[in-house]
């Protein structure tokens, strides 16, 4: 009985939602006085920054089948009126044909620019910047509560090689370029809001141009560092059962214990895969931004998403839309990466005694290594016992 009632209710809802006449009866603006064009109420609503449904314009692009013949008093040019044509240009529905060559020459008006700009200047800066500041504050609080993780019993004075020179080179190539990219990216994203009021537009113009040059060009170092570190460390970062034990113990960070780990513990593996996956993604969107006409990516991506999830994302994107999507995605992924890297920098410097040496000199204290990577030390010692010192 209940199923029948539910079924009937569902049927009624579907009928109502699909019924065009019912939809027209919903509260709306009466535009009969203007012949369907915008009214004073529409203009006033826009001035008050209210959301105006402009479907009455964007979907009113003329219908050649119903148009009056050109010989009639109000006959239209080729089936659609000039107003229809201008509206279709306004909403990028016009099939433009131009002799101008070059990419995007037939895109006359690109309407997505404003929503991209509002998203970039609003939520991206607010939530992205807020997350960075909040996370740094959280780490400061954590440091004040937990303090530096010390080597139990102090350093032994004997060292063991943790990373070879080529490994450290790859790490610092990646790290140095990432920090430069992060700083210049934040200047580019937030400069208009926060730096121009402080330093003025002229000085900021110089800084922004320099930031753009650094950001565009040092990205190649980042990508090279990403590839180097991936191939050098991927074998050590395959998840295994030991990682689960490490995670269950919280890495020993709250309990002052030292769960067993090989060369990389579960926390380091999380950082590794975060950097690799997000680094790959941010590199792709960055390349798309560097070469927008050669490497559009979002139309293809949306097409794949549509085929997998049955969604209806737009797959015919102008180069401008491609850049807008790439820019927003680039920013979001970069912010998540920055959060992960800030945590990584914390634990590798002020958060843990002896950790920086691994990437500084490459030589770590044996006692530090035994406490944090006991199985790796055992492996190295076993190899050294066999005469293999690498």
């Amino acid at each position: 009985m209940n199923k029948k009632l539910l079924g009937a209710a569902f049927l009624v809802l579907v009928t109502l939602s699909l019924n065009h006449a019912w939809a027209q009866e919903s509260p709306g603006v009466d535009r009969s006085a203007t012949g369907g064009a915008q009214t004073l109420e529409d203009i006033m609503a826009r001035q008050q920054k209210l959301k105006v449904d402009d479907a009455f314009r964007s979907e009113n692009l003329g219908d050649p089948a119903n148009a009056a013949p050109i010989t009639d008093h109000l006959g239209t040019r080729g089936g659609v009126s000039l107003s229809d044509t201008y509206r279709s240009i306004r909403y990028n529905e016009f099939d433009a044909n131009t002799q101008a060559r070059g990419p995007a020459a037939d895109v006359l008006i690109q309407d997505g620019g404003m929503s991209w700009y509002k998203l970039r200047e609003g939520p991206i800066i607010t939530y992205g910047g807020g997350a960075l500041l909040g996370f740094i504050a959280l780490l400061v609080v954590f440091y004040l509560i937990r303090g530096k993780i010390m080597i139990d019993g102090g350093p032994s004075g004997t060292t063991i090689q943790r990373f070879k020179a080529i490994e450290r080179f790859g790490h610092w190539l990646l790290a140095g370029s990432f920090i430069a990219l992060g700083i210049t990216g934040l200047i580019t994203l937030m400069g208009r809001s926060f730096l121009i009021p402080v330093m003025g537009p002229d000085a900021f113009a110089t800084l922004a141009a320099g930031s753009k040059w650094v950001h565009n060009n040092i990205s190649w170092s980042f990508m090279l560092g990403l590839v180097m570190t991936f191939f050098m460390w991927v074998a050590h970062n395959i998840p295994d059962k030991l990682d689960w034990q490490w995670l269950k113990a919280g890495g020993g960070i709250f309990t002052n214990s030292h769960p067993s780990a090989k060369k990389f513990n579960a926390g380091q593996k999380i950082v590794f895969w975060t950097v690799m996956v997000l680094g790959f993604s941010v590199s792709l969107s960055g390349l798309s931004l560097l070469f927008p006409f050669q490497m559009p990516m979002f139309a293809e991506t949306f097409s794949v998403i549509n085929s997998v999830f049955g969604t209806e994302l737009a797959t015919a994107l102008t180069p401008h839309e491609e850049m807008q999507y790439a820019n927003i995605w680039h920013s979001i992924v970069a912010f998540v990466m920055m959060l992960a890297i800030i945590a990584h920098i914390y634990i590798g410097t002020v958060g843990m005694e002896g950790a920086f040496d691994a990437m500084g000199s490459g030589q770590v204290d044996v006692e530090w290594a035994r406490q944090h990577h006991d199985l790796w030390v055992a492996e190295v010692e076993a190899r050294q016992g066999k005469g293999d010192v690498s």
Partner: protein, 42 residues
Amino acid sequence: MKVMISAFVAALLIATAAPVILGQFGWSSAEQGSSATSVRLD
């Protein structure tokens, strides 16, 4: 520390060389500024 500094220097060298090398292949998006050849008026 020598390795770290040399990696930073390498990053800067790559950044400096990138626009020149890309320009050889006609990929000029990374070039700073504009030139007469980057704008086609035909």
